[in-house]
């Protein structure tokens, strides 16, 4: 199939085809179907943003009919559960979500304008590593990965975190993306020891080490980073093979300890871009409804059951795209 048919906006007729002939209410994941009456729904009918908000559906069948007949440009549901979703009142709890948008991630491997298979794959890699930390460090297990059409949403439904406020959510984001340089001085029995993050293969220092490694291995000569001048950038690229071999001490020695500190401080700041933190700390956010159509790129927003093997260009392309001439 001609690649030009992919990632183009869907026409009104294509939306109608999708919702009436391909879409099935059963494609909505259970974690939403089971709480449909507690969530706020929002719709974008004209491609100008989700202006039709505060929608509530008392049953799945009513939602099915709405989507079938209104065939919206985009459909959303809240991450929050409410007593009175029609007024966004009586907040009960919210999923903890992480939004990795392929077009916004720092250090993209591609130079595409919007999204392409390269940056979407990079977003997938990032999601995999975030999941490892959510599970391994934070012990969260009820995690759903949604392909949003232009990236991924990680939606956490562990009861232990669904009631936490924005401040705690902010702390989770900062932990999993490595937004702070870890301390390097530790005291024991009145003696202070200096231990760099890469010497500690567990806890937050390890999270940070993984993030720094990823960033360094994806730098290019045209990357712009605060506090990192051209000379430092060139040296980092020159010696990064040491990082690839996990020879951190040698790398730090080649770059120089002061410049190394400057580099990791800059990477910590850059790490804030891996996810859209605004989404994570917003308790009342609406997110694209899994199974709905991302009309801007003609992709299905869908739950991903096997992230390792997921290929959006195989699994998330609606039938009408293949029928385009």
């Amino acid at each position: 199939m001609d690649e030009n048919h992919f990632l183009k906006p869907a026409s009104t007729e294509e939306r109608r085809l999708y919702y009436r002939e391909e879409w099935n209410i059963e494609d909505i994941p259970d974690f939403i179907k089971n709480s449909v009456d507690k969530r706020e729904f929002g719709f974008d009918h004209l491609g100008r943003g989700p202006n039709d908000r505060y929608r509530v559906f008392r049953s799945l069948d009513l939602l099915r009919k709405f989507l079938r007949y209104r065939t919206p440009f985009a459909a959303y549901s809240s991450v929050a559960f409410y007593e009175k979703p029609q007024r966004r009142d009586g907040w009960i709890k919210s999923e903890v979500v992480f939004d990795v948008d392929a077009k916004d991630i720092p250090l993209r491997k591609c130079n595409c304008e919007g999204v392409c298979d390269v940056c979407l794959n990079q977003a997938r890699e990032i999601v995999c590593s975030l999941m490892d930390i959510l599970k391994g460090d934070l012990g969260l297990n009820d995690i759903h990965v949604i392909y949003s059409g232009r990236g991924y949403h990680l939606r956490v439904l562990d009861e232990s975190v669904m009631k936490v406020n924005s401040d705690v959510r902010g702390q989770i984001v900062k932990y999993i993306i490595g937004a702070e340089v870890p301390q390097s001085e530790y005291g024991s029995d009145g003696v202070t020891y200096k231990l760099e993050h890469f010497s500690l293969p567990f806890g937050y220092p390890q999270v940070f080490t993984e993030r720094v490694k990823y960033a360094i291995l994806h730098l290019t000569e045209s990357t712009e980073m605060d506090g990192v001048n051209n000379k430092l950038l060139k040296d980092v690229i020159k010696y990064r093979e040491f990082i690839n071999n996990d020879e951190w001490g040698l790398f730090r020695g080649k770059v120089g300890p002061i410049r190394y500190q400057r580099l990791i401080k800059s990477i910590a700041s850059l790490n804030m871009g891996w996810v859209d933190a605004k989404v994570s700390i917003d308790l009342k956010r609406i997110l694209r409804l899994p199974s709905s159509l991302h009309s801007m790129v003609s992709m299905k927003c869908m739950e991903v059951n096997n992230l390792e093997n997921f290929d959006p260009f195989q699994d998330a392309v609606p039938r009408f795209v293949y029928e385009r001439k």
Partner: protein
């Protein structure tokens, strides 16, 4: 034998001491035993002015120690040696409760007085523990933690409150599948296979050891102190009139805090109040300067509406907002809205115009949003009759800026010492006045 109440007044032992005490009015009477204990404390400076004579005096000294230690470069430790004498435990516990109740009744939990009380408790626990031998310290921490943590295995979510108030950072904890690793055995079991070329035992001592346990204990007690102040406030709302002794102590607390407040040059009034004055762009923090240079599409709305509008409006009209901890309206400080119309809105519109593309070119409706963030509801024009339909948004903290608008956060040296862009602005104004030789707080 040291009582855990000396470190944690909210412990069962501490509460028992309070239960055994009589009526509040006795607390302002001179107490010979207290005076004797203080005078006979090792290294204690026994000048009359430093000796607490009763429980109320001791409560004031407790807070004064923290404030002076923090702000006075010539701080004399020997004036407060009695605070580290564990023989005063019974008196100390009572003075702790008196302070919490005074602060709770008069100021509530979201006040600078409450913050100072909670922080002082944290620092006092830390300093007291450092005076003990390692064995005693370990023993005390273990006893206190055992009573605070009900299970052997503790999930990080147990610390939701102290994480939320940022008394503790998630990065401070070592976790394995959600469990916080505190014990040596758990650490070895979880991580020893990953540690190469180093002794896992030593790594445990360095990274966790007593340090993390003490940190958790300290932050939990600080949080419980804050919670107690909140409970006192809630209870006091149901009472007709608070005890005069608590109000008297609250006044003294306020005086201790006011004395410590630094002078901010010509914008500072007699009581430390920071007065409104025309904006000085040279004192703006780096994030505000970046907004003035122009934002790119993507972060424009949040930068202008949620970040810049509250910052410039408070910096110009009510820079003292965080110290005062009150809810104000724009018209309280700009009665005919002339400053809003002639200075603040033009500055916000100018910053919006600098965006790429200019914010109002494609989103003219955002002017209404700006009015809403100033407290004038969703209306096209700022008018007094609409004031109060929305709230006047206070400036975002640095923490929020990092999360909402990470591209704006390019900290300089001053940023390290502050937690809000508005505090940066005030500090810079003060520094510039100091440099210009007007340190006395005189009016121009």
């Amino acid at each position: 034998m040291v009582s855990v109440a000396f470190i944690n007044p909210l412990s069962d032992e501490g509460r028992q001491i309070v239960r055994e005490m009589g009526n509040l009015d006795l607390f302002r009477e001179d107490n010979a035993k207290l005076i004797d204990l203080v005078i006979h404390t090792r290294l204690q400076d026994i000048s009359e002015e430093f000796i607490p004579h009763n429980y109320v005096d001791l409560a004031v000294k407790r807070l004064e120690w923290y404030i002076r230690k923090k702000n006075d470069p010539n701080f004399n430790y020997n004036k407060y040696s009695f605070l580290f004498n564990y023989d005063i435990t019974r008196f100390d516990v009572i003075s702790f409760y008196l302070l919490c109740q005074a602060v709770g009744v008069k100021f509530g939990p979201n006040s600078r007085e409450s913050r100072a009380m909670v922080e002082s408790q944290g620092k006092l626990m830390q300093s007291r523990l450092s005076e003990f031998s390692r064995i005693d310290r370990e023993d005390l921490i273990k006893k206190i933690l055992d009573s605070l943590l009900s299970d052997e295995k503790v999930k990080w979510t147990f610390f939701e409150d102290i994480l939320s108030s940022r008394k503790l950072k998630l990065e401070d904890l070592v976790m394995d599948h959600g469990d916080i690793i505190l014990n040596r055995e758990d650490f070895i079991e979880s991580f020893s296979s990953k540690i190469e070329h180093r002794d896992p035992d030593k790594i445990y001592n360095m990274m966790i050891g007593d340090k993390v346990k003490e940190l958790i204990m300290n932050r939990m007690i600080m949080q419980k102190t804050e919670d107690y102040i909140y409970k006192v406030q809630q209870k006091s709302k149901r009472e007709i009139e608070p005890n005069p002794l608590l109000l008297e102590l609250a006044e003294k607390v306020s005086t201790v805090l006011s004395e410590s407040f630094p002078s901010y040059g010509h914008k500072v009034g007699g009581n430390g109040e920071i007065k409104a004055a025309p904006l000085n762009p040279n004192a703006f923090p780096p994030c505000v300067k970046l907004v003035l240079e122009g934002m790119k599409s993507g972060g424009r709305n949040d930068a202008i509406i949620l970040f810049f509008t509250p910052f410039v409006s408070y910096a110009r009209l009510y820079p003292d907002i965080f110290r005062k901890n009150v809810t104000v309206k724009v018209s309280d400080v700009d009665p005919n809205l002339s400053v809003v119309q002639n200075e603040i809105l033009p500055l916000i519109y100018g910053a919006a115009e600098q965006c790429t593309p200019p914010l109002f070119d494609d989103q003219p409706q955002e002017k209404i949003n700006i009015n809403a963030k100033l407290g004038f509801g969703m209306h096209a024009v700022v008018e007094l009759k609409h004031e109060g339909e929305s709230i006047w948004y206070t400036p975002m903290s640095c923490e929020k800026v990092k999360l909402h608008l990470p591209s704006l956060c390019k900290p300089d040296k001053t940023c390290k010492r502050i937690g809000n862009p508005l505090s940066y602005y005030i500090r810079k104004l003060w520094e510039s006045d100091e440099t210009n030789g007007n340190p006395e707080g005189n009016e121009d």
